[in-house]
């Protein structure tokens, strides 16, 4: 019993500590943004890694989720004679929830983990100390380009996931399940508003921020040795995604009220 309480307490303290570290990291990054010139070469390299190289997985994720969601909806709505209502349901779900959340999952797995692993390796091989010894502030050199690249890339990737989901949903409903295309598209346009798209994009922006801060923090705080790198990598994905899911709940209500 005591051990259980101790372990829960340690977990809770660990979470608080991580929260504090993340806030400090964010403040440090924002301060560096104003104090140092932006390193465009590094920024472009990070946009290529975070953004461009993520495009295929995001297309596949968005496309297939949109496709199966449209199919499942059609199977149910068919009995009610409401097949053409599948369009707006798919579009709104993709915009508001599925697009940003699933995109965040893929980016946490592909980019967040890579960031954590790279920074943790740099830490244990003294590369971060080497940067400091060469009079370079590590946050400015390592984190700022990743931060900017993530904030630029993530909303675009979410937009792409939404587009692919809606497109794939249309294709499956209209060409495979033979829902009348005109009604499908008319209903989609009628019930999907700019607000829905904005909710997705804004969520994507904040999810990107969460993935970046958790991934970088895990990397920078990694303990020594190969085990430390492995742990930082795994935890970066799990923690980032848990925070994304919880944040998503609050964003859903908040953004619905604001936008």
């Amino acid at each position: 019993m005591t051990r259980y309480a101790q372990r829960t307490g340690a977990r809770f303290l660990g979470m608080l500590q991580m929260g504090g570290q993340i806030v400090f990291l964010l403040c440090d990054v924002i301060r560096c943004l104003f104090r140092y010139p932006i390193r465009f070469k590094l920024l472009v390299r990070q946009i290529d890694f975070i953004g461009a190289k993520s495009v295929p997985v995001v297309i596949i994720t968005g496309g297939f989720i949109g496709a199966v969601f449209a199919a499942q909806c059609e199977f149910q709505f068919r009995n009610l004679g409401m097949s053409s209502a599948v369009g707006p349901v798919v579009a709104i779900a993709m915009c508001r929830e599925l697009g940003p959340v699933l995109c965040a999952l893929m980016i946490a797995g592909r980019v967040g983990s890579a960031m954590a692993a790279e920074l943790a390796t740099m830490k244990i091989t003294e590369q971060i100390d080497a940067l400091r010894s060469l009079a370079v502030y590590p946050t400015e050199y390592l984190i700022v380009p990743r931060f900017l690249a993530m904030l630029i890339s993530m909303p675009i990737l979410v937009g792409l996931a939404i587009l692919c989901g809606v497109g794939a949903g249309y294709y499956v409903a209209v060409h495979v399940l033979e829902v009348p295309g005109v009604y499908y598209w008319n209903n989609t346009e009628k019930f999907t508003h700019d607000k829905d798209i904005w909710i997705g994009i804004v969520k994507g922006f904040f999810f990107g921020l969460i993935i970046l801060l958790v991934g970088c923090n895990k990397g920078l705080q990694a303990s020594e040795g190969a085990e430390g790198v492995g742990l930082a990598t795994t935890e970066s994905v799990v923690d980032a995604f848990i925070i994304v899911l919880i944040a998503n709940f609050f964003f859903t209500f908040l953004l619905n009220a604001i936008l």
């Binding site: 100390d129 080497a130 010894s133 009079a135 502030y137």
Partner: protein, 260 residues
Amino acid sequence: MSNASLESNAAPLVRLDGVEKKLGRQQVLRGVNLDIRRGERMVIIGRSGGGKSVLLKHIIALMQPDAGHVWFRDHDLAQLNEEQLVPIRKETGMLFQNGALFDSLSVGENVAFPLREKGDTNEKEIQAEVERALKIVDLPNQSHKWPSELSGGMRKRVALARAAIAKPALMLYDEPTSGLDPVVSDSINKLMVRLGDELQMTSVIVTHDMVSAREVGDRIAMLYEGRIYCVDQPKVVLESQDPIIKRFVNGISDASDAIF
């Protein structure tokens, strides 16, 4: 003769004053006092795991002491934050034990890093300087390679070129000759002497290599149980009859050292 003896009465470039450091549960440094004079080559010897690298990291504030002060010129490094340390670190260079080359940059980019950070923009001059530095460490025409393609010794030499290319006032070497063959070790020793003599660089060299200590050092300090046990001319230290120094210098283990 180096400048050390000429300026021995001048204010030291680096002064360690009662530096204490605990890592985990281990008290690594227990009050280190040491002055490093301008232009001298100070060799620090001591047992493995005895805190030599930790001590070295305190000199450019890569680690902060739990107690005590580290003075660099008139600055108390323990009072400065990471950003205030940037201008001070522009005057220093450090060779890390395993090189610590940046994996994401090629050998040439690694060596050019301090020059680009300093604000040099003339690519032609940078390339010429990089080639010259690589030639000095006996690695000509290797700038296109990646750190992962190099052996441990080669990495260390590239790291030396990177640390020294901006001609810092203070160079710190963390085991510069470990893992190198005797010929390359000798060339590194000569290079350390040359950098010191020609550029009036002050050097702090952490090493286990007694040949290197003898050849390079103006003074040798021995770190023992978290404190500086002795500081003196190489000849005095290496020929000392003190049992602790003698055992270390001659590499004689105690029976108790050999028990698993």
